[in-house]
């Protein structure tokens, strides 16, 4: 009837609550089994199986068979970006499934956004890197400076190795909780991995929130000293431009 890409198909894929739960759970970035996803979605295994088949047919999910387990992940980081975009939009409209439970504060503080750090700490990290002159902001783009490359090298990040990937090194990702930018791209991923490797932080079970050890938190805050609210006076996002 009409020309153009079929947005209704992926809309309806995301539109089912059970499937939305599955996708949200996979935004945590790690591969999950069908059983785990069924629990996350709040449906039985059979139902989840049907949903997973549809999501995979729709190109949103990829699966990897391993023994008698079947691990699912988001198909690629474009899916993660798409979902984060929708989440940001939904949050800005106030379409929050508001259950201000005890987990909320932890999520706002530090959580994983597909594969990089988001939340308060994510924003703080980017702001600090910009303030320190490690990253320069060009409109909506981010660039790692030579000084930044040296600085990150001293922390233990091999930037030249990251450059060889096809994935952009720096990308800014708008946070639905903070509505401010944090660092995505291969560098964002590398930094978060680095924190995990050093034992500063670890993932929490069945949640997207990230737990910092006391020592790790101290180190992180010292390394990225710019408080949220300092730095650039980024304008509030207005509802009606």
């Amino acid at each position: 009837m009409k020309e153009g890409p079929d947005i209704a198909q992926i809309g309806s894929l995301i539109g089912d609550p059970a499937r939305a739960n599955i996708l949200t759970a996979l935004m945590g970035g790690r591969a999950l089994t069908a059983t785990e996803l069924a629990a996350a979605a709040g449906v039985t295994l059979q139902t989840a199986s049907a949903h997973l088949a549809k999501l995979e047919a729709g190109g949103l999910l990829a699966q990897r068979k391993q023994g008698r387990h079947r691990y699912f992940t988001l198909a690629d980081d474009r899916v993660g970006k798409l979902l984060e975009g929708i989440m940001g939009f939904a949050a800005s409209r106030g379409h929050l499934r508001h259950r201000p439970g005890p987990k909320e504060p932890a999520l706002r503080k530090a959580r994983i956004c597909y594969d990089h750090l988001a939340g308060d700490y994510g924003v703080r990290m980017l702001d600090s890197l910009v303030e320190a002159g490690a990253i320069s902001v060009m409109g909506e783009g981010l660039n790692l400076t030579a000084q930044g490359e040296k600085h990150l090298g001293s922390i233990g990040i091999d930037v030249s190795g990251l450059r060889s990937s096809r994935r952009p090194l720096c990308r800014s990702c708008l946070d639905w909780s903070e509505r401010r930018a944090h660092l995505a791209g291969s560098l964002g991923k590398a930094l978060l991995s680095n924190f995990f490797d050093k034992g500063w932080a670890r993932r929490t079970e069945n949640s997207r929130s990230i737990f910092f050890t006391p020592e790790g938190e101290r180190r992180f805050l010292a390394l990225f000293p710019i408080e949220i609210g300092d730095g650039k006076p980024e304008p509030e996002l207005s509802e009606k431009p």
Copy 2:
């Protein structure tokens, strides 16, 4: 059950074919009446009315009463950006509602993307501006150079007036047909308006395609001489990064 923004709600809003048609029609940027949208969606007026009410309640649409007509538009350009993002994703997955009709070529050549120029001509325009040094590319961000400001001023674009808007001046927008960037933001809008004002081009009825007059086409191609395929050797987007 879960934390975070409710992506299922807007997913299901977009997921219905009739509503998707309505939204796609409104991507044309102009305000349309309920009757027109009903025709575009292929449903009766009553059904369309119900859909429009839902879309408005969901914050995707805004309406403006004018006499006995009710004009609908996308709520703001964030909605347009969201939809274009989904379209781009859908196109990359091959979820095309493939009806390679006669209108397709016109759409690929030049069409409106919410309020700016997209398609072949949109890509050509941006490429040419970059090649001419009017716009510099920084990662994913675009910046208008001083030289570019002067250049555009000579065409009849008042850049300083655009700067006063809260909307970003330059933004790159990824095209679902070309899979290459074209110019969005207030500057993109101003350029397209400029072409309309000069009579180089006009919108076509009930379509997102843009019709160039022979004279206008000549002028446009002379002003933006870089062919698609020239310029920067932007790598193909790969499916699996």
